[in-house]
């Protein structure tokens, strides 16, 4: 895992923060990552408020980056601890951080990384309806079945877009054949 110099620097800056505050700092960081807290917590905490804000900012952002990079690289708690030992982070802190990381990294992964990747609209649901056309104002005695298909597509931000189209029996047959081929392709893959 690669980290920028400034991130690594933030680890050594930890020495300037009193040990008693370390745990609270960690709770804040993981709280933010799990979306259960935000930076306003700093105002509420007496001990955190007393730390020089520039220092706090640097340490805070450095640590968050380290955690996210670790998740991106699929590190488990042990490998993270190993990595941090090679830097100049205080040992006790490393222990606290890896423990907290071990408990929460799956959840953080779910919340942040799997939902902010780049992707196209995702198919989440399909509805269909079959009608029988009798006549219209332009032409009578039609007597044909028609299918209405409604696909639900979800965008990155959770918004759902509906895609509607119609087809006759032959087109539906072609569609089903195409889809069956697609499904079969995956089966031969694994």
């Amino acid at each position: 895992m690669e980290l920028s110099k400034s991130n690594l620097n933030s680890l050594s800056l930890l020495k300037k923060i009193p040990k008693s505050v370390h745990q609270e700092l960690l709770s804040l960081i993981f709280g933010v990552l799990l979306q259960q807290a935000d930076e306003t917590e700093i105002e509420k905490s007496q001990s955190l408020k007393q730390i020089d804000s520039t220092l706090l900012k640097e340490v805070f952002s450095g640590l968050i980056t380290i955690v996210i990079q670790a998740i991106k690289n699929n590190l488990n708690a042990k490998s993270l601890a190993q990595f941090l030992k090679d830097t100049n982070a205080p040992t006790e802190f490393v222990g606290l951080l890896s423990t907290a990381y071990g408990k929460t990294f799956q959840k953080i992964k779910e919340i942040h990384l799997e939902t902010t990747g780049f992707y196209l609209k995702k198919l989440i649901d399909i509805n269909w309806r079959m009608d029988y056309i009798i006549k219209s104002n332009k032409i009578e005695q039609i007597d044909k079945p028609v299918y209405f298909i409604d696909l639900n597509l979800q965008k990155k931000d959770g918004q759902i877009e509906k895609l509607k189209f119609s087809c006759d029996t032959n087109q539906l047959q072609d569609l089903v054949t195409t889809l069956k081929d697609a499904v079969l392709a995956k089966k031969t893959l694994k």
Binding site: L172, L175, A182
Partner: protein
């Protein structure tokens, strides 16, 4: 038995058909058919009107009235006897009547196709293309191997929609559509079809 009724105006417009020769009459019928299909030929109309020495406007109105006849008969899918009975109301010559009937029967399917294109409908599906990929990594995650389907759906109103689906969704979509397709062979559908006819 379904018959088409002409209003008085139309009857008047079609009056002079009674006195026309077969040659001229058939030309007018042809123009009406082409008019319906969207190929309006004013030059031919001009030739005809000068030949029979009538103002072009009068011939034009005749063409409109004949188009009405063809539109309505195709729409209702008139049988031969019903068509002839409707045509009777304007009492054309025997030859013109035959000419009308022949044109109707020859062009009926195409006219019905054109009418159904003009009818109310939702955009229909043109094609669905798919591609199976394995997602390996992205800016935020690495070391994964997730199979993902890329799909491109084209509809008749020239819209192209790209979307992705994972295997489970695609499978469930396929199953749902297969069920839909089976419906067209079900007893319920056959019963309704029979009942409506």
């Amino acid at each position: 038995m379904v018959i088409i009724y002409f209003n008085n105006e139309q009857k008047e417009d079609l009056q002079f058909l009674q006195e026309l020769s077969f040659e001229v009459g058939s030309k007018i019928v042809q123009v009406s058919i082409d008019f319906f299909k969207g190929n309006y030929n004013p030059k031919l109309l001009q030739n005809v009107s000068t030949k029979i020495n009538l103002p072009q406007l009068k011939v034009e109105r005749c063409v409109y009235a004949l188009s009405y006849l063809f539109t309505e008969s195709s729409k209702l899918s008139l049988s031969k006897s019903d068509f002839l009975e409707s045509v009777d109301a304007i009492s054309p010559t025997k030859e013109i009547e035959e000419c009308l009937l022949e044109s109707y029967q020859k062009n009926r399917e195409e006219m019905r196709r054109i009418l159904s294109e003009m009818s109310l409908k939702l955009p229909s599906i043109d094609s669905l293309q798919w591609r199976l990929d394995v997602q390996i990594s992205s800016r935020r995650t690495s070391n994964e191997a997730k199979p993902v389907y890329l799909l491109k759906l084209k509809t008749s109103d020239n819209r192209t929609v790209w979307f992705q689906a994972d295997y489970n969704e695609l499978e469930s979509m396929t199953n749902q559509l297969e069920i839909a397709l089976k419906e067209s062979k079900s007893q319920h559908y056959k019963r309704i079809k029979k009942y409506i006819k």
